[in-house]
């Protein structure tokens, strides 16, 4: 018994010694422990489902666990604040989205997107203007003409004042050039209010609209974008209809400011590989978002462009309360 214990002990010490030598060799190599993958929205929602799958795919590339953690609240503000206050070592990354721009604009975080470092975009999807399946408007033009004939009468539902869908709805309103009533009914009641007839239309992400549109309960009229989306090629864009509105819902990855360049490069590479993995592509096909990794300057451009759109729309609507210094 005694001998056994001694042998075991020696063996253990040896193993530890070897392990620490080994770790010493690879210390420079990021990552060496689990990475926290913060999701700003609740379990079961599309941000959560997509984020979890991406985290899983990234974990396979990086060889360490990438652990999804939901930090919900304030339309993303809780997650972005947590990320900003985290150590810039690459072990905390956030599943950011257009909500970063909107929560900064409405003043729920006292900083803007430049306070974080960005790995880049993973995917995007258009936000769709939809009406009830049996509504009298067959096309967006009919809808806009009705609005012009009856200004201040049409009601458009969105997920909440200052959310990306509200910004898109205001963009649609501006493009039509007539007043509408915005109903900030929340994510869960957005489609329900159109189905009950309470709202005449809703603006919602494609992934949240597609299922009900397929079942004939909703009719997709247009997307406030420049290019037709491959997932819903039948839905005309506002640009081609002659209206000026261009705002997609993007999802991207962000890390704290000051994360070492080598770490950022490794994470970027993992992000792009994971985004193009078979599992993530399957999910994109099933749910209806478009995978389009954008890194470096390309993504900076997107942030700058979308940021300007959000700010100008918020200012126009009188809800711009940014606390950025």
């Amino acid at each position: 018994m005694y001998r056994f214990t001694k042998t075991t002990l020696t063996g253990l010490i040896g193993a530890f010694a070897m392990a620490s030598c080994f770790m010493g060799v690879v210390r420079a190599e990021f990552p060496e422990k689990a990475i926290e993958f913060v999701i700003p929205f609740g379990a079961g929602g599309s941000a959560d489902i997509e984020g979890r799958l991406l985290a899983n795919a990234m974990s396979k590339v990086l060889g360490v666990p990438v652990v999804p953690v939901n930090k919900v609240g304030g339309g993303g503000a809780v997650t972005y604040t947590h990320l900003k206050n985290s150590k810039p070592d690459g072990y905390t990354i956030a599943w950011a989205s257009t909500s970063l721009l909107t929560s900064s604009g409405i003043g729920n975080i006292p900083f803007d997107h430049s306070a974080l470092d960005h790995l880049g975009q993973v995917e995007f999807q258009p936000m769709i203007v939809s009406v009830k399946g049996n509504a009298k408007w067959q096309t967006f033009k009919e809808f806009a003409d009705y609005c012009k004939a009856n200004p201040g009468k049409l009601k458009i539902a969105n997920s909440g004042t200052g959310s990306a869908t509200h910004i898109a709805a205001v963009a649609v309103e501006n493009a039509m050039g007539c007043k509408v009533i915005h109903l900030p009914v929340g994510i869960k009641r957005r489609n329900a209010t159109v189905l009950s007839g309470e709202a005449d239309a809703a603006v919602g992400p494609l992934t949240a609209t597609r299922r009900l549109a397929k079942a004939g309960k909703l009719r997709m009229l247009a997307a406030p974008t420049a290019e037709r989306n491959p997932v819903a090629p039948d839905v005309p864009t506002m640009k081609e209809l002659g209206y000026d509105a261009d705002l997609d819902l993007f999802r991207s990855l962000a890390v704290p400011k000051g994360t070492p360049a080598a770490v950022v490069a490794r994470l970027k590479e993992a992000m792009v590989t994971a985004a193009n993995s078979a599992a993530f592509k399957d999910l994109a096909k099933k749910n209806g978002f478009t995978i389009k990794p954008l890194v470096g300057k390309d993504f900076d451009q997107r942030l700058a462009k979308d940021g300007a759109v959000v700010i100008s729309i918020m200012k126009g609507a009188g809800i711009y309360k940014s606390k950025t210094k």
Binding site: A77, G162, K188
Partner: protein, 507 residues
């Protein structure tokens, strides 16, 4: 719809779902049995374990617990004359005398079978009514929903409070707490003092863990070490629990009274198990051929309340699933458990996730089947658990409270929130203020505000929008009626009673 029902049935009858239901039932029988541990406390304890499970499996577990908790309460009511849950209070009236006559097994068997019948009848109601109600509720607009939530709030306050003032204070406190966090309409911060942790508000499950579990823990520290001495729980042989045919015939009528009463009262927010049990006991007694036996160990007196309190479960699931309105703390937690998985109870649940909605309904069915089998076979074993020293049980519960409140949002801050609500719960217990109105205000406060403000945005500030829809007018009248009832009719009735007692000359 048929497809959804079939899909739901296959989900609920999966091996993993069935195992989860059975585990939930075992756990429910246990917590129901232990005096001082309510079904709410039991659900709070297992809740963190369900965060990581599939939604249909975790809901199967929780439903098993809900159903079996109602039955478990009757075990201690019969054996010790201490109802394990408030809903089993009426069962003790006849259950304990029957046990004193040496027929404990018979009493337990009757309670178990009556529970099963009540549960199955309410399953029928749930299956038939819920999809129809969901269809109807799809037409509800913001003013209708506001009126409905308001009605839910009034009826809860009038039922849950022994003292109206204390009940109202408790509810008002809940409504005030709800305003902390992001403004639901404007998206801006409200009463957060620039603390980002407060931006998402107080989660009602966090509050609930503190309000229910912490005072329970403190109380148990001040009570004796074991729950009861060995000698008090002689049940008899294994077969004594299985009811005889003659008994079954005799309890058919009280069960047929108790089951519909329970299902109906379950539908109404706020009524809940104890009230249903007493009403059906009373009614069964009044309409019985031999009412003089009631109170002395009549099996009818066990069957009526037991079928009623289990029938409440299916009834209470109807408004919870179709309208997202909880009728009692347990359904409030179930709403929270669904939301954790991103499934919002409400009319759209049947449209968008019909498979899940029917899966839930069928899990409820299986929970009742398991409850019958496991309770009949396992009651002799389960009762031994009453000897578990609290020294083992209570630290485990305390630990699970902390884990549960952290894991809900992965926020350490929420643990402090939970402990703060524990202190609030203790204070409320000391001043004898009911916590249920506070809890339900926490659940209903947000939809109340949202629907009110959406209505007014929609009507451009015109309050007459609440009088334009028949649904809204109907619910508002019900709300007014329920307030009048508890403010005017109940005190008047009490005064009248008091007068009768004092005699005509007084005053």
């Amino acid at each position: 719809m048929i497809q959804d029902a079939a899909l739901g049935f296959s989900q609920a009858s999966q091996f993993s779902s069935l195992v989860a239901t059975a585990i939930g039932v075992m756990f429910g029988l246990t917590v129901g049995m232990i005096p001082g541990m309510t079904i709410s406390t039991g659900i709070i304890i297992v809740l963190p374990l369900t965060y990581t499970l599939d939604p249909n499996i975790s809901i199967a577990l929780l439903l098993g617990l809900y159903v079996a908790g109602m039955t478990g309460g009757s075990f201690t009511a019969i054996l010790l004359n201490i109802p394990g849950t408030p809903s089993a209070s009426a069962t003790a009236i006849d259950g304990f005398p029957l046990k004193e006559r040496g027929e404990a097994g018979r009493a337990l068997g009757i309670a178990i079978v009556a529970s099963f019948v009540g549960g199955i009848v309410s399953f029928g109601c749930l299956y038939l009514i819920a999809p129809q109600l969901a269809d109807l509720a799809l037409n509800f607009r913001a003013p209708d929903l506001f009126a409905l939530v308001l009605f839910g709030l009034t009826i809860i306050c009038s039922f849950a409070a022994k003292s109206l003032i204390k009940g109202l204070v408790s509810a008002a406190l809940g409504l005030m707490i709800v305003t902390v966090g992001q403004d639901p309409m404007m998206g801006t911060a409200r009463f957060t003092f620039d603390n980002v942790n407060l931006l998402s508000g107080v989660h009602f499950l966090t509050a609930m863990i503190g309000l229910f579990a912490i005072p329970e823990l403190i109380k148990s520290i001040c009570t004796p070490a074991t729950l009861m001495p060995e000698t008090q729980k002689k049940i008899g042989s294994f077969w004594s629990v299985f009811p005889r045919l003659a008994d079954l015939k005799q309890i058919l009528r009280p069960m047929l009274i108790g089951s519909p009463i329970g299902s109906f009262l379950g539908l109404l927010p706020g009524a809940g198990g104890p009230i249903a049990a007493f009403i059906s006991y009373d009614y069964a007694k009044k309409s019985s051929k031999n009412p003089e036996e009631y109170g002395k160990g009549s099996i009818e007196g066990i069957a009526a309340p037991e079928s009623a309190n289990n029938a409440v479960t299916g009834g209470a699931l109807i408004p919870m699933m179709t309208l997202g309105i909880p009728g009692d703390p347990v359904t409030a937690i179930l709403i929270g458990a669904l939301l954790v998985h991103g499934l919002a109870p409400g009319p759209l649940l049947f449209l968008e996730r019909g498979d899940f909605a029917y899966g839930l309904i069928f899990s409820f069915f299986f929970a009742n089947i398991f409850n019958l089998i496991l309770a009949l076979v396992g009651v002799r074993l389960l009762v031994k658990l009453l000897n578990t020293p609290r020294a083992f049980m209570m630290p485990t519960i305390g630990l699970l409270c902390v884990i549960g409140s952290y894991a809900l949002r992965n926020s350490f801050f929420d643990i402090y929130v939970m402990l703060a609500f524990g202190v609030i719960g203790l204070i409320m217990r000391w001043v004898d203020m009911p916590v249920v109105p506070l809890l339900l205000a926490l659940v209903l406060g947000k939809p109340l505000e949202e629907h009110l403000r959406v209505s007014l945005i929609s009507s451009q500030g015109d309050y007459s929008i609440f009088l334009q829809s028949p649904f809204s007018v109907g619910f508002l009248s019900l709300a007014a009626f329920s307030v009048l009832w508890s403010l005017v009719v109940v005190p008047w009735r009490d005064r009248l009673r008091a007068k009768k007692l004092e005699g005509p000359t007084s005053q």
